[in-house]
Symmetry: C2
Subunit: 75 residues, 2 copies
């Protein structure tokens, strides 16, 4: 089974890395870019784990719930 986890900074949290990339894209000839937000993408190969346990791991290990949201997709 494959699990994908996306961890993004919360909307209310500043993302200086995203701002820097947006400015760099402007300098590279893409002034149409309005905003960039940067997070982490994890591809997890797992054999028959239960979803509740994976959510627990996402919360406790893979993200910082104070400043980040996560999304778990199972395939």
């Amino acid at each position: 089974m494959k699990a994908k986890v996306i961890v993004m900074p919360k909307q209310s949290v500043l993302d200086p890395q995203g701002v820097a990339v947006r400015d760099a894209m402007h300098h590279h000839g893409l002034p149409q870019v309005k905003s960039v937000r940067i997070g982490k993408f994890m591809e997890i190969e797992v054999e028959g784990a239960d979803e509740a346990k994976l959510h627990e791991i996402c919360r406790d290990l893979l993200s910082n719930p104070v400043i980040e949201d996560y999304r778990l997709e199972l395939q």
Copy 2:
């Protein structure tokens, strides 16, 4: 328009961050995890840019083609 860019280490490239997270998941009671690979996820808000230009930026700015692959999704 929204663009999503996923940048992952190439399959042939070691991903020590992924290995560390896999080991941590084992210690947190998920020994079923076989592998973890970690990349970047970028959400880009852009007004009417052409796709070719976005691919150019992905190649030149957002990823390192020597060790990373990128995937661009337009919505």
